[in-house]
Structure formats: structure tokens, C-alpha cells
């Protein structure tokens, strides 16, 4: 696992509560609001299960800690999106909270229903980008959520030990987290930071 330089993290006292909200303007219509919200709820819960941080959805986009939106092309942050595939999304390090997804992708929550060869699993990308929002950079461990690439129709939502060790180094462990539940294959540890 790796951190952003300077090891930024949300600096509030533990336990932390972070609010998130969806941009009312920058949306996609290929999935319903409830499908999108469900994918994000699950993505946040993966991280909340291992660290003492709670994520709460808010309707107040302006004041939310984490602001989520779908954008096309140049959207003003100097990192334009590039259309189908290529770059899928990006998010900012703590405590900026900006989370941008490429609206041009074929976002999916159910591969049985979305048959496109270019379909990208929304929950997988959301889980990865939340890692950035919390302070993790990219890892070299291919199985980990924080590995930088994700192939079409691939689902990668379960945190691996590399992800968990990294995020717990920033925030400590959720008191309810039980690492015995992880399988043997998930327990390789990368000590390089």
C-alpha cells in the first residue's frame, strides 16, 4: 500500500463521520438513482467495516464532505476525461473530497443485465476512489482494490489485506473488524510504503 505524499488524512477526531452527496446536475441516466446510490452505499460500507469512519448520505451537496458527480471531457480540474474506457474516474486526496466519474463509461451494477463488453462495475470503481478520498494512493498489489486498473466486466469490491493494512495505518481499526474472516490468500502484506 502507499499514501499520498505528506500522508494526508481526514483530521477529525475518531470516530469520524463523513457526509457524501451526489451532484444534482452532473448525473447519468443509464442507471436509476437508487441503483447508483446502492452501489455507493455498498462501496462506502467496505471501508467503514475496517476503520472507525462512518459515511452518511446527505442531500446538501454544497456542504457535504464528499461530492460525487459524473462529468464528460474537460470539467475544469485540469484532468479531462477521455471518453469510453481509458480513464474511468479520479478522486482527490484528503480533505478535498471531490469524486469525479467519467460519464461516458458504460456504468453497470449488474453484469447479467448490462451485456456490453465495455461495461464497468460502478461499485468497484467507487470502492477504489473512496480509498483515494481517505488517503490511499495506488498499490503494486494486483489483487488489491487500490491497484490502478480495472478491466471491463471485472468486479473487485472486497478489500484485501494490503488495502486494510494501509487504511488502518491512517485511521486505526474498526473495533468490530475481525481479520480472521479474511482468507489466507488475502493476508499477504506489502511493507513498502
Amino acid at each position: 500500500y502507499a499514501f499520498f505524499s505528506g500522508r494526508p488524512r481526514w483530521s477529525r477526531s475518531i470516530p469520524i463521520i463523513l457526509t457524501y452527496a451526489f451532484s444534482p446536475e452532473n448525473v447519468i441516466t443509464s442507471l436509476s438513482k437508487s441503483e447508483i446510490k446502492g452501489a455507493f452505499r455498498r462501496a462506502f460500507s467496505h471501508w467503514a467495516s475496517v476503520i472507525p469512519v462512518t459515511f452518511s448520505e446527505s442531500n446538501d451537496y454544497g456542504f457535504a464532505d464528499i461530492k460525487i458527480g459524473f462529468y464528460k471531457g474537460d470539467h475544469g480540474d485540469g484532468e479531462p476525461f477521455d471518453g469510453v474506457l481509458g480513464v474511468l474516474a479520479h478522486a482527490f486526496s484528503p480533505e478535498t473530497g471531490r469524486f469525479h466519474l467519467d460519464a461516458a463509461e458504460t456504468w453497470a451494477v449488474d453484469f447479467d443485465r448490462e451485456k456490453s463488453d465495455e461495461a464497468i462495475d460502478l461499485e468497484s470503481v467507487a470502492t477504489h476512489e473512496i480509498g483515494h478520498l481517505l488517503g490511499l494512493a495506488h498499490t503494486s498489489v494486483q489483487e488489491a482494490v487500490m491497484f490502478p486498473s480495472l478491466r471491463p466486466r471485472e468486479k473487485k469490491v472486497d478489500l484485501k489485506m494490503d488495502d486494510i493494512k494501509g487504511i488502518q495505518a491512517l485511521y486505526g481499526s474498526n473495533p468490530n473488524f475481525n481479520d480472521q474472516a479474511l482468507s489466507e490468500s488475502d493476508t499477504s502484506i506489502n511493507n513498502g510504503v
Partner: protein, 96 residues
């Protein structure tokens, strides 16, 4: 990028001049592997590109060959996160 665009670079090595390989330099520059002040990238497979390629193979757990083998090109064309692999500046944007 697609295999159609980048597949032609397979087996390229330092010293080769290949039409379009400057796009690969842009890719490596964007994701933090190629640090150059002069961003007029040429189509020469030069020392800078080889160095970036080795860094990329090391970072992503690929076999380090310094060459554009098929595995490396496949990884490059995979969809990915836009965050640089080496702590980018824009991810520390100030609040406005």
C-alpha cells in the same frame, strides 16, 4: 488507448523510432513515470522512455524487461483510475 493503437509497439526497444510512440510518452508522463521539462515528445524510443517503462513494470508488478512486451502493453491499455501512480499535484487542490 486500444490494442489497435498500442499493439504495434510490442517488442519495441530503445533506439527504435516508431510512429506514434510519443503517445506512450504522454501516457507515462500523465501517470507520473516520465518526468520531463520539455513536453514536445518525439517518436524515438529513448532512454527516458526506457526508464519510465522499467518504473512502470516495477510499480505494477510486471516482469521487468525494459521492453514493450505483450503483458506490459495489455496493462497499459487497460482502463484505469486517473490518479497518478506517484502522488500527483492536482490531488492536493486547495479549497476555493
Amino acid at each position: 488507448y486500444t490494442w489497435h493503437e498500442f499493439g504495434k509497439f510490442v517488442d519495441a526497444t530503445r533506439g527504435n523510432k516508431i510512429n506514434g510512440i510519443s503517445e506512450l510518452k504522454k501516457y507515462f508522463h500523465r501517470f507520473g513515470y516520465l518526468k520531463m521539462d520539455n513536453l514536445n515528445f518525439t517518436d524515438l524510443f529513448d532512454d527516458h522512455l526506457e526508464h519510465a517503462l522499467i518504473k512502470y513494470q516495477e510499480k505494477l508488478g510486471l516482469i521487468v524487461t525494459g521492453k514493450l512486451d505483450e503483458n506490459t502493453v495489455s496493462q497499459i491499455i487497460s482502463p484505469r483510475c486517473g490518479v497518478s501512480d506517484f502522488a500527483p499535484k492536482f490531488m492536493h487542490a486547495k479549497r476555493h
